[in-house]
Symmetry: C2
DNA sequence: AAAGTAATGCAACTCAGGTGCAATAGCAAA
DNA sequence: TTTGCTATTGCACCTGAGTTGCATTACTTT
């Protein structure tokens, strides 16, 4: 993966926050610095390299966030929590207590919780 | 809510299956019988009247399924399970074991599990 | 410094979903 | 049954996220 200016700008964003970020907001934020095509393609590369992971919000919007190796199950099935008040989307650093369904095999998950966060309560 | 032919056709679909159905597939299925605008608007009405509920799949697509009063928590936060092999999307009739996060208040959820179902294993 | 090729920008496209408006058809009252 | 009200529909058009092809640019390696 080549070390381009656009790549570094995006990587820096993920280094500076624990929150997930909506892809649309990234495109807007860097509108004057790179094309939306570039944003989408860089995110694709970063996800393939396991630098970030992505998931779908409650209205079908895509979100991205850095991968935190601290949590072993971070890759495939940890939930995300979005606060209705402040809009922040957090990775929930808990292993998910999936009801094991007899005979079913769960491989991945897209789990979004909506509510009010600690700060906003 | 007026008893129109289009409405009855869609209601019948939900009466005849326990599975969730993607909105796109409904639009395709009734292409020759009603306009997509009508499909979207009827689904909107049915959801408002609590005849069906909707949620977002792993790729951001909208799905709809009938509400089953049998399960008390059916409305807001039961999970859905999509089989990678047959493509069927099922409502998981279990109460969800959400990790209660101290200080956080969960109001709703969009929970999609992906894997292999009983039939396809 | 040169060359190979990964990455970018741009324009054009796809596809889900929504909107405004005129035409149609349930439904209720007469 | 007929009339009138208005909910519902169809159509054309729009919006916005995401993708693609291709020519150009700029990393990286030798």
């Amino acid at each position: 993966m080549r070390q381009t200016k656009s790549l570094n700008k995006l990587v820096k964003v993920f280094e500076e926050t624990e929150f997930a970020i909506s892809v649309v907001s990234l495109v807007k934020r860097f509108k004057s610095e790179m094309s939306k095509t570039t944003v989408y393609r860089i995110l694709e590369r970063l996800e393939k390299k396991n630098v970030i992971h992505s998931f779908i919000g409650k209205d079908g919007e895509r979100w991205v966030a850095k991968l935190q190796q601290a949590y072993p199950s971070h890759v495939e099935r940890h939930p995300h929590f979005q606060c209705k008040t402040c809009g922040n989307m957090e990775c929930v650093p808990f292993d998910f207590n999936l009801p094991t369904i007899k005979g079913y095999e769960v491989e991945a998950a897209n789990l979004v919780l909506i509510g009010t966060c600690e700060q906003c309560l």
